[in-house]
Amino acid sequence: MATGRSLWKQMAAHKYLYLLALPLLAYYIVFDYIPLYGIILAFKEFNFAKGIWGSEWVGLANFREIFGLQDFWVAFRNTLIISLGRLVFEFPVPIAVALLINEVRRTRLKQFYQVVYTFPHFLSWVIVSGIMVNFLGAFGVLNQLLVLVGLEKVNLLVDPEYFRGLIYGSSLWKDMGWGTIIYLAAIAGINPALYEAASIDGANRFQQMLHITWPSLKSTVVILLILQIGRTMSSGGGGFDQIFNLYNAAVYEKADILDTYIYRRTFAVGSSYGTSTAVGLFKSVINFVLLYAANKAAKRLGQDGLY
């Protein structure tokens, strides 16, 4: 193991630099690796008095219990559908917005758009859901407008038909600007000489976008796509907060995702932590497999993967 020895040598030579990495290492061990210990709860019947380790092993009983619940499969299906929907409806939008903002020539105006689009991200879902209830409720702005033009009132928040559309729409409103940041950064890194050369060759703005901006952006898109696929079972970022604050009994059948289902089950019924952990583990394993597969596929297609 010649490389191993040389690595050690190298590390010894720069030992004070490596020392700087220690706090970070400690951080990950304490906050990300030690808590993994809690996973064994999925195979135990948790007893508060005995603690995690002292509790009794129950094998796969927790998994059998959750797989036997009809509501679990409803939530499972919804999680997949909502994640897929996010991939189709939400994922491409920030890319398009980034490309469009990039085409704005005046820097001031560009910054203005960016701020306007980014701002909603800083409102919490609790606030956004409050705004939405006021806006979409029976006496909200939307219904007042509908009545004004002589149409029937609608009740979007309690109608399972429309609920998913609301989920996608509201998270687009809130987060599409935030999502553009990383793409704009990638665009900013493109060598301006490329554009100059292209314009001398007679390429117009659209051709420049197609042949210079997009190819430079592609690897970023792929990486973010892989990450998004890896979050499928958690229904994307903000999935829990958003759905938890917006849903209600009338739309559970379409809106309940695994995270919200487990939350309700744990707290409303006071059911065991074992089953909750089991669902968490189940989710993580699926996420891992999807992430791995997406990464592999990306590499096959000649893209840089995550690792």
Binding site: F48, G137, A138, A250, R265, G270, S272
Partner: protein, 544 residues
């Protein structure tokens, strides 16, 4: 699990400042000298921190130094009260998290009795039992030896102190009622409703006939203080047991109300009420107490709510915020919560005499438990009852023999200040910590009238009298309600109200939808629970 952890972290982050604030309070307090503590001096030599979670506790300690009642309790029992804030919306979640992280407060309030969670708390050693000998605390002992609390021991031990609401079941009679706009009834020329059609018509008229006369279609028929507990009772005329959510005896067998065939009428009628615009279109997305706010804004014709003086004064507080030109007491009327049954009889709410219980963390030492029970014993004593009625002697009232003279401070409007506003720790915590004592609200006394205002108190009291005399209590076998069987406790997984809401908002035939839902209950252990309960009824002779 991830999310749960995240919430745990968030909760703890929230709890931390609270703990810090509580800690600061402590630093400012002079330690009571031996002479001040009186009887407690030798007995309670060591000063103890007692952490408490209680439903209203968030408002209990605005300024610890200006609250004479808090000072009295802390010096009398030589304790320091530490508050851990919960609300009606999140207490279940917080207790679960605190239990998991070993952070439960010493004393906390929950309505958990006989549920699956209650027994697993006992089994897992999360909560501690009361000492077997309670003779040192006669008032606590008395509460635990009442008829409807005596059977609540588990293997001979009590793991909680029931928080008594009333002294007798009849006092619950206005716990479910409909408060309507009398001025709107008059304007629309409607009479007091009796039948289902009357009620439906009244709610619809409120919503559609522009009772506030502003030319806009912006009024609501019927709304709810809290959808989860106030929705089903409005259909109690068609099936009385939905009023108190109890078990019903049908064909010689006890079944939970939601398993009864009579629910078909209930879901049909509630669907109709919603579809025809009688019910607040936003009822499914409202949070608890949103209804107060809506009614107060003057856009609602009726609200399903408690009609106790306390609940009405909360409604009035919201009203006074928005409606300036009409007096609340002169604008409302209290009606029975639901219409008359087919045979003409009308029903009212009834229940066991307590709602919710005090629990004690298993980490509480014997010494601390003794101190806590001393406090509870005081809070259940006649002495404290006198405080609840009159306030502090010498300051709020003078006593001359049997005669009490009220000397309480008045506010700028010339009305007596409420005890809760003068002593926030009393209003937000101690007044209801050991028992709600709501019978005091209903008592025909000068102080009850002072506390809530003559007019409002009379409104409530008349409704109580009317309901007790004219309405029948829902026929309920409380022995079955309090019975524990393993499968019965698991029924807490069923949320029938949520399922009724689903049917109300659904588009398919309501009865078919409901039938499917009830079939689904079997997979949650409904049949097993019915079997166990009826076996137990047979064996223990609970059916009399």
């Amino acid at each position: 699990m991830n999310r749960t952890k995240r919430y745990a972290a968030a909760m703890m982050a929230l709890a931390l400042p609270a703990a810090l604030i509580a800690g600061c309070g402590e630093a400012n307090q002079p330690a009571p000298s031996a002479g001040q503590t009186g009887e407690g001096a030798s007995k309670n030599a060591k000063k103890l921190d007692i952490s408490i979670s209680f439903f209203n506790i968030g408002k209990a300690f605005p300024d610890r130094n200006s609250d004479p009642f808090l000072k009295m309790i802390e010096s009398r029992f030589n304790v320091n009260i530490v508050d851990k804030v919960i609300s009606y919306a999140d207490y279940k979640e917080k207790y679960q998290l605190w239990a998991a992280s070993g952070d439960l407060p010493d004393v906390f309030s929950d309505d958990n009795i006989n549920s699956e969670g209650y027994y697993s708390w006992i089994k897992q050693g999360i909560i501690r039992p009361l000492p077997s000998d309670l003779s040192k605390y006669p008032n606590v002992q008395k509460v635990l030896s009442l008829n409807d609390t005596k059977p609540l021991n588990v293997d001979g031990k009590y793991y909680m102190i029931p928080r008594q609401t009333y002294l007798e079941p009849d006092q619950w009679a206005i716990e479910r009622a409909v408060v309507v706009r009398k001025d709107w009834l008059d304007k629309l020329g409607l009479k007091d409703p009796v039948t289902y059609d009357d009620y439906l018509n009244m709610y619809k008229s409120f919503a559609q006939k522009d009772p506030d006369g502003n030319g806009k279609n912006d009024t609501i028929g019927l709304t709810f203080r809290s959808t989860s507990s106030m929705l089903l009772p409005v259909a109690g005329g068609s099936f009385p047991h939905v009023i108190n959510g109890s078990w019903v005896k049908e064909n010689g067998k006890y079944i939970p109300y939601y398993a009864s065939g009579q629910m078909k009428t209930v879901v049909k009628q509630l669907r109709q009420m919603y579809a025809e615009g009688a019910i607040d279109p936003d009822f499914a997305i409202m949070k608890p107490n949103d209804g107060y706010e809506k009614f107060g804004q003057g856009k609602v014709g009726a609200i399903s709510v408690q009609a106790t003086p306390n609940a009405l004064s909360a409604l009035r507080a919201s009203w006074d915020k928005y409606v300036k030109d009409k007096k609340f007491e002169e604008s409302v009327k209290i009606l029975p919560v639901s219409w008359a049954a087919e045979d003409g009889s009308r029903y009212r709410y009834n229940a066991v005499t307590f709602w919710s219980e005090s629990y004690f963390s298993s980490k509480v030492s014997d010494e601390k438990m003794d101190r806590i029970l001393q406090i509870y014993d005081y809070l259940l004593s006649d002495e404290f009852m006198t405080f609840k009625r009159y306030g502090m002697e010498g300051k709020d009232y003078k006593k001359d023999g049997d005669k009490f003279t009220i000397t309480r401070e008045k506010n700028e409007n010339g009305q007596y200040k409420s005890l809760g506003s003068m002593y926030p720790s009393y209003g937000g915590l101690f007044g209801a910590l050991a028992a709600w004592g709501q019978q005091l609200e209903l008592e025909d006394t000068e102080t009850a009238r002072i506390n809530y205002g003559e007019q409002l108190w009379t409104l409530s009291h008349d409704a109580l009298k009317y309901n007790v005399e004219k309405l029948k209590p829902v026929p309920t076998n409380f022995k079955v309600e309090l019975l524990y069987t393993p499968a019965k406790s698991k029924l807490s997984a069923i949320n029938a109200t949520e399922d009724v809401i689903k049917v109300m908002l659904g588009k398919d035939d309501p009865v078919t939808m409901w039938d499917n839902i009830v079939k689904g209950y079997d997979s949650k252990g409904l049949q097993q629970a019915i079997k166990e309960v009826n076996d137990a009824v047979q064996q223990q002779g609970l059916d009399k």
